[in-house]
């Protein structure tokens, strides 16, 4: 009995040694925020199918809504996943500073090539003291306003090119007895981010454009600087002008951001839509009602956020960034693959059939591969902006979390509730909370 047990152990350990030589069957755990069975989660998993077939490395994507806290617990317990996908590059830098991440250079990544492929700006978001830790992945487009061309045409409205034209159009719509803007910023535990997005878009187009935007994000100018105050005043014009937003000012903070555009698809007794314009990121069609989703690109489409004081092609966006926590050979192979041009093929061509609207951050990616015309158009926008270095990442994601996911959100919510007289206090409070 004892002899046979020892024999079994010996055989088992020999099998283990024999497998160790190739990467066949090695497992790589990839952990991120989009839930495992959500459209994005399935799309991410599908992008590794080809890779697994070729190399034998098994990449398992696991997503959790409580990604951040679960990951922290895993790191603290000394049991992190190989790769983690953060929705905010700021957190990547914080984790890098805490010493939990492995620099890309140690993983055998050619940094010059990486910078050239993903634009130095995007790579820089994952750098600490000039050492890149984060891998650029997918980006989305925020500087867009959704609208319904048919409703515009039938009333003789034209797409506003500038802020003043947009205000004039809004006044026109109010005068016609309708509501120009859909605006909802309620989001469980993150209420306020929509207003911060607006602020960022306005900041990119006022003051000194991208220069003052970068200064603002890096806190080289105070948060209550006149430039920022000017931007907040513009935003307040939208939020607090009587009749501009659906349901009035009170409704802004009560409306779930995913429901916010629904009034545009609803017709009242006179056949008028509930609103005409909705400034929201490229991922919002995922929240539309099903029949509205079918009209994506035809019935409902988007125009670029209008020009303001500084005319420019700047584009605001956001995206996620991965970083490596456990360094082994299989992980290096996966990293190599994720930085390659064809990594996004499966997601772009919608292999999983879930209709993911993710856009690759790789400048060399062929945008004609995207399955939907709307995504193609957005990807072209982004690609041009990335190549011209006028793409800017969501500023609040790059601020310290105390501000970017704390006071900036809560004070913008407060501003929406309290009205224009609160602008000064809001900005002063955010400035005070900057660590």
């Amino acid at each position: 009995m004892r002899k046979s047990l020892i024999g079994l152990l010996l055989i088992l350990s020999m099998v283990a040694v024999a497998c160790g030589n190739s990467l066949e069957g090695e497992e790589v755990l990839y952990f991120g925020a989009p839930a495992t069975d959500s459209p994005d989660g399935i799309a991410i998993q599908s992008s590794f199918e080809q890779f697994t077939e070729e190399t034998g490395i098994i990449v398992t994507y696991v997503g959790s809504e409580n990604f951040e806290s679960e990951l922290l617990a895993q790191i603290e317990a000394g049991n992190p996943p190989n790769i983690a996908l953060w929705p905010q590059p700021g957190t990547v830098r914080a984790q890098a500073r805490a010493g939990n991440l492995i620099p890309l250079e140690d993983l055998g990544v050619d940094l010059d090539e990486y910078r050239a492929n993903f634009s130095p700006y995007l790579v820089g978001l994952g750098e600490v003291d000039g050492v890149p830790y984060g891998g650029a992945h997918a980006v989305n487009l925020k500087s867009i306003v959704w609208y319904q061309p048919a409703e515009f045409d039938s009333r003789g409205y034209s797409i506003p090119e500038t802020w003043d034209e947009m205000i004039a159009l809004a006044d026109q719509i109010v005068a016609d007895g309708m509501t120009p803007f859909c605006f909802g910023m309620y989001s469980n535990g993150a209420t306020g981010w929509l207003a911060t997005d607006w602020m960022e878009d306005i900041m990119l187009r006022t003051g000194n454009g991208t220069t003052s935007y970068d200064q603002w994000v890096n806190h080289e100018i105070p948060f209550n600087d006149p430039i920022v105050k000017n931007a907040a005043t513009y935003l307040s014009q939208i939020m607090h002008t009587d009749g501009y937003v659906v349901g009035g000012t009170d409704a802004i903070v009560s409306t779930f951001f995913g429901d916010a555009q629904d009034p545009m698809f609803e017709r009242d007794a006179n056949g008028n839509p509930g609103c005409f314009m909705h400034r929201q990121a490229s991922f919002i069609p995922g929240f539309w009602p099903e029949d509205a989703q079918e009209g994506l690109g035809t019935e409902t489409t988007f125009f670029a956020f209008p020009d303001m004081e500084v005319p420019s092609d700047t584009v605001l966006g956001a995206g996620d960034m991965w970083a490596v926590l456990v360094n082994d050979e299989a992980t290096q192979e996966v990293v190599d693959f994720m930085l390659s041009e064809n990594y996004f093929d499966a997601i772009a061509t919608n292999v999983a059939g879930t209709g993911s609207t993710r856009i690759s951050a790789h400048i060399g990616f062929d945008t004609s591969k995207y399955w939907s015309a709307t995504t193609q158009k957005q990807a072209d926008f982004l690609k041009a902006a990335l190549a011209a270095n006028v793409f800017r990442f969501d500023g609040s994601d790059n601020m310290p979390p105390e501000v970017g996911s704390g006071s900036f959100w809560s004070e913008m919510t407060e501003l929406a509730v309290q009205g224009p007289s609160y602008i000064d206090s809001a900005l002063d409070n955010i400035e005070k909370s900057w660590p």
Binding site: G248, V253, S254, T255, T413
Partner: protein, 413 residues
């Protein structure tokens, strides 16, 4: 003689120390280190096999070894030591997984963001001076008082009344008890629909807003309804004069209600009332709804144990029903009330799921447990997160101490 017994005591103490801490520690550490080292090196089936074999062998060795050690102790102490032998590992594990984390949390609460440098009492100053923390503590107090009093009073009344029912007591009680069977997340999701808000002109799917927008007429005399089609014509609520829906969970005060719309600042009473934190109370009601059934069942059992002779005697003496309830039934169920109150207090201090699912702490609805997780995972501030958890811990302690004293009192009676 006395020298001998002293050395005996010393020996017993030595054996106790070895059996209680040294041996389990050795046992635990050897396995922890062994499996830590081999986890990523050998295939999983082999690992599981090893864990079973090694784990059970070690436990056998642990007890065999302790048995051996105890056999060196004097005969008349051995029985006690054998008892301790079985408790020893449990106490050791309790210490490892309960006391060690507690002490480390206290330590971390005096450190900075990543626990690197000491910051003295800064985190505690922050806990009581930060505006959001103050509101969180306020909410916690509202919940404590609100949930405990409401659950106990409603539970007691329902239990007493249902006890008097001639028919259908079981069905009545099951209905009240039903929410107890639903998880906290489930209940919160149900209530989230009750409080739901959608921007006009969408149909209101929330129960409260559905009621709110239905009824009345607009300024032109047309009826207001929740997007109902009548004879092919849509009747909505968007015209001036109809009541507009509100986001219930976003109302931090009552200023959106007509009674409080034009409160003068000098009207102290009314402006105090208008600051009523509506959303916090609405969330609190979810917990009341969940726990009333539990309180009712416990009280019902207590009320049933009141001897019928006593209430009968009271009735013959001409006491009213209220009088009987207060003077006869209440003294009998007093200790049950204390037990339920203790349980509720601890549950409220731990309450996390309701706020997490509904508002996640936005609009001044936060509770300490959610705030603790926010500081940990959102703001990555380990020091502050630890401080908040210490606050929760400290507020539970008096209740536990009280309970221990009460238990002792009852035992001594």
């Amino acid at each position: 003689m006395s020298v001998k017994s002293d050395s005996n005591k010393l020996l017993v103490f030595g054996v106790r120390v070895v059996a209680f801490s040294f041996f389990p520690l050795l046992w635990f550490l050897s396995q922890a280190i062994l499996f830590r080292e081999i986890t990523n090196k050998i295939p999983r089936p082999l690992l599981i096999f090893l864990a079973i074999v090694v784990g059970s062998t070690f436990i056998f060795l642990l007890y065999a070894g302790m048995n051996r050690i105890i056999s060196y102790a004097p005969k008349n102490y051995q029985e006690g030591l054998y008892g301790a032998m079985f408790v020893g590992p449990a106490i050791f594990l309790l210490g490892l997984f309960l006391f060690y984390p507690a002490i480390r949390t206290i330590y971390l609460s005096f450190r900075d963001k990543w626990g690197e440098n000491s910051v003295g009492f800064d985190n505690y100053t922050w806990a009581f001076s930060d505006k959001i923390m103050q509101i969180t503590i306020r909410n916690q107090i509202i919940w404590l008082i609100g949930v405990v009093t409401l659950v106990i009073s409603i539970g007691l009344i329902v239990a007493y009344v249902s006890d008097k029912l001639k028919k259908g007591e079981a069905i009545f009680k099951s209905i009240i008890f039903l929410p107890m069977a639903i998880s906290g997340v489930g209940s919160s999701a149900i209530f989230k629909f009750i409080y739901a808000y959608r921007p006009p002109p969408l149909t209101q799917i929330g129960f409260l807003n559905g009621l709110r927008v239905t009824g009345g007429t607009d300024n032109l005399g047309n009826p207001c309804k929740n997007n109902i089609f009548e004879n092919g014509k849509k009747i909505d609520y968007v015209n001036d004069g109809c009541t507009q829906p509100i986001g219930w969970l976003q109302q931090r005060d009552l200023t959106k209600f007509s009674t409080f719309e034009n409160v003068r600042p000098d009207d102290t009473l009314m402006s105090w009332f208008s600051n009523f934190p509506l959303n916090t109370v609405l969330l609190m009601i979810i917990m009341v709804w969940m726990f009333t059934g539990f309180a009712m069942i416990v009280f019902s059992a207590a009320i049933k144990s009141v001897p019928a002779e006593i209430t009968e005697a009271g009735r013959i003496d001409g006491a009213s029903e209220a009088r009987i309830f207060l003077s006869v039934v209440m003294p009998y169920v007093k200790s049950t009330i204390v037990v339920v109150a203790t349980y509720l207090t601890v549950s409220v201090l731990k309450a996390y799921d309701i706020v997490f699912v509904t508002t996640r702490g936005d609009f001044e609805t936060n509770l300490l447990a959610v705030k603790m997780m926010d500081e940990f995972s959102k703001f990555l501030h380990f020091g502050r997160a630890s401080t908040v958890s210490i606050l929760i811990f400290v507020s539970v302690v008096p209740i536990i101490v009280l309970n221990v004293f009460r238990n002792k009192e009852e035992n001594s009676l």
